[in-house]
């Protein structure tokens, strides 16, 4: 019997994350092409709620592993639960949406099961042999990889594949009781620190407005934030801005920061150093605002404005406000 295709679902506040809906979307496509069943797995202390929600997005079955011990994410208990499910049902492919959690979990379990793992997948051919496209050298090159043996674990980049939408049906939710071993708890989470943050993270955002050294001072980010507010965007930064202490490291885009791929990336006062470009070059549309007409960023942008960002950014903000009414 042909083996199922699965999506791993990460839930937050009882709801599947957007990247997980993208994982279902991709898994659904694969399952459809192969004529096999689509499964979804939700793991956590409140997995039940998210599973009920996920059930509407097209899977044939949702496995919900709920246990108070799964409240804080820890690699090994999660790997135990997902690993036991994979061993029991032998899916051919498990699709994860890229996140720190998913990459951590997929890596541990792939090593444990001898699964074939491809991370940060940006393209997938699946009707015949499975072939995944993934960036290497920080996106300066890409590889197409094939797999030896099953299961295959794929982590897919956010904002690359379309998210699944509710299909009017509701799948069966199967409750799973996790069985742990003592060694799954060698690591103990002592504390969880959630920074106060009103704004969406650069990894989740459809639009990012970034500021670099050209911002000159931390308080000047107010003009970036105003534009971001108009666009519903996240705020990013170059390493120069982060190293200067103007912005938190979590905002850094680039080789040693985050690799993002939004629909729109607006770079303000950023020169376009290669280590920055590799972090944002897969954005669908790139806009550059810089006073130096020779700045390298203009060579890789779709649209650019040569000018003083302290004049240009507020003018753009005002235009967006007018257009949005």
């Amino acid at each position: 019997m042909a083996k199922d295709i699965w999506a791993f679902i990460e839930a937050r506040d009882g709801k599947p994350r957007k990247i997980s809906l993208e994982a279902i979307g991709k898994a659904k496509e694969l399952a459809g092409a192969r004529g096999v069943k689509l499964g979804a797995v939700v793991i956590g202390a409140d997995a039940g709620a998210a599973a009920a929600e996920v059930a509407k997005y097209g899977p044939d079955v949702v496995y919900a592993a709920e246990d108070a011990k799964l409240k804080d994410y820890s690699t090994e208990p999660y790997a135990r639960v997902l690993g036991d499910l994979v061993k029991e049902h032998s899916p051919a492919v498990v699709v994860f949406g890229v996140s720190i959690l998913a990459k951590d979990l997929a890596a541990r379990l792939a090593a444990r099961l001898g699964a074939s793992l491809a991370g940060d997948v940006v393209g997938l051919e699946g009707d015949g042999e499975l072939v995944a496209t993934r960036p290497v050298y920080a996106g300066k090159a890409q590889t197409k990889v094939g797999f030896k043996g099953e299961p295959v674990f794929l982590t897919i980049r956010p904002n690359v594949f379309p998210a699944a939408t509710p299909d009017g049906k509701t799948a069966e939710v199967v409750k799973v009781s996790p069985k742990f071993e003592d060694k799954d708890f060698r690591v103990q989470v002592k504390e969880t620190i959630i920074p106060k943050k009103e704004r969406v993270d650069v990894l989740e955002a459809d639009i990012i407005v970034s500021g670099g050294r050209g911002m000159k001072a931390p308080e000047n980010y107010a003009i970036i934030e105003k534009l971001a507010d108009q666009l519903g965007a996240a705020v990013g930064a170059s390493r120069a801005a982060v190293d200067a202490g103007w912005r938190p490291y979590s905002d850094q885009v680039g080789q040693t920061g985050k690799v993002v791929g939004p629909n729109l990336y607006v770079a303000c006062g950023i020169s376009g150093a290669i280590q920055h470009l590799v972090g944002m070059s897969s954005s669908k549309v790139i806009v550059a605002i810089n006073k130096d007409p020779d700045a390298p960023i203009f060579k890789v942008c779709d649209y650019g404005i040569v000018g003083d960002l302290f004049e240009v950014v507020p003018a753009v903000t005002e235009e967006v406000r007018k257009r949005k009414g």
Binding site: T143, V187, S281, G304, V306
Partner: protein, 264 residues
């Protein structure tokens, strides 16, 4: 205490990556190599541990061709006590899985209290090897640490690590594997004295046989993924750069974004 640091020798991040048509790897001509940046954080943390705790023996470990000894030599110059190069022509075609298998075999029996790696190597960007080494050695792993404190007497470590939009403070009983993230520390450069001393230190080389690995566990045969093609993606950008007064360029840009690019 014994600390092992995994370092990979990778193309400099400034390198222009080129691939000859039909090749499955990059054109290495004229490429300069460095220690993968996240591994520098791992190495620095080992040095800091020694400064804080005193008696810490540091072993740098790299898998790669002979020239990867350069990375190990740098670690020795920074203050590593010894170094191991895992090298064998049979590793050609190895993926992250095989690499982790071999590194785990090289570390096994070494009684390391901590194994430090980078969160990801900046060539394959797999973010896999540190975790897989932990699995193969049946050790816990804490990925993406931004803070690490070791309590020698208790045999434990407390680490802070980033997750998606939040962070955790975690306690673990040693031995354990940790992967380093930016923010952990500020890597130092080797001092002249260190460079002189490093020349006298020995680098042990272990081949596949010495590691007790079977031929089918090596290289392309043992690999779980097979590179079928490598290419440099071409991304044609529109490159419409507007000059002039903001009163003109700003509305023009917003119009283009809304009507041409359709992203607003």
């Amino acid at each position: 205490m014994k600390v092992a640091v995994l370092v990979k020798h990778v193309p400099d991040t400034e390198t222009r990556i080129q691939v000859k048509p039909g090749d499955k790897k990059i054109n290495e001509e004229g490429v300069t190599y460095i220690i993968s940046p996240f591994d520098e954080f791992a190495m620095e943390e080992a040095l800091l541990l020694r400064e804080r705790l005193g008696d810490v023996q540091i072993t740098a470990v790299a898998l790669g061709p002979q020239k990867a000894t350069e990375a190990l030599r740098t670690c020795l110059a920074l203050g590593a006590d010894d170094a191991i190069l895992v090298s064998d022509p049979a590793f050609e075609g190895a993926d992250a899985y095989v690499t982790a298998k071999a590194l785990a075999a090289a570390l096994k029996g070494g009684n390391y209290d901590l194994i430090l790696a980078g969160k990801q190597a900046v060539d394959d960007d797999a973010a896999y090897v540190g975790t897989a080494v932990a699995e193969f050695l049946d050790l816990p792993v804490i990925n993406l640490v931004t803070k690490l404190e070791v309590n020698k007497a208790a045999g434990t470590a407390v680490a802070a690590r980033d997750l998606d939009g939040y962070s955790q403070v975690i306690e673990v009983k040693l031995p354990a594997v940790f992967t380093a993230q930016k923010g952990l520390n500020n890597p130092r450069l080797p001092a002249l004295m260190g460079i002189m001393k490093a020349k006298k230190k020995e680098i042990r080389t272990l081949n596949a046989q010495a590691l007790g690995l079977a031929p089918n566990e090596l290289g392309a045969e043992g690999a779980k993924v097979e590179v079928k093609e490598m290419f440099v993606p071409s991304k044609a950008r529109k490159n419409k750069v507007l000059t002039g007064a903001p009163a003109e360029t700003a509305p023009e840009l917003v119009k283009l974004l809304a009507e041409e690019a359709k992203v607003l």
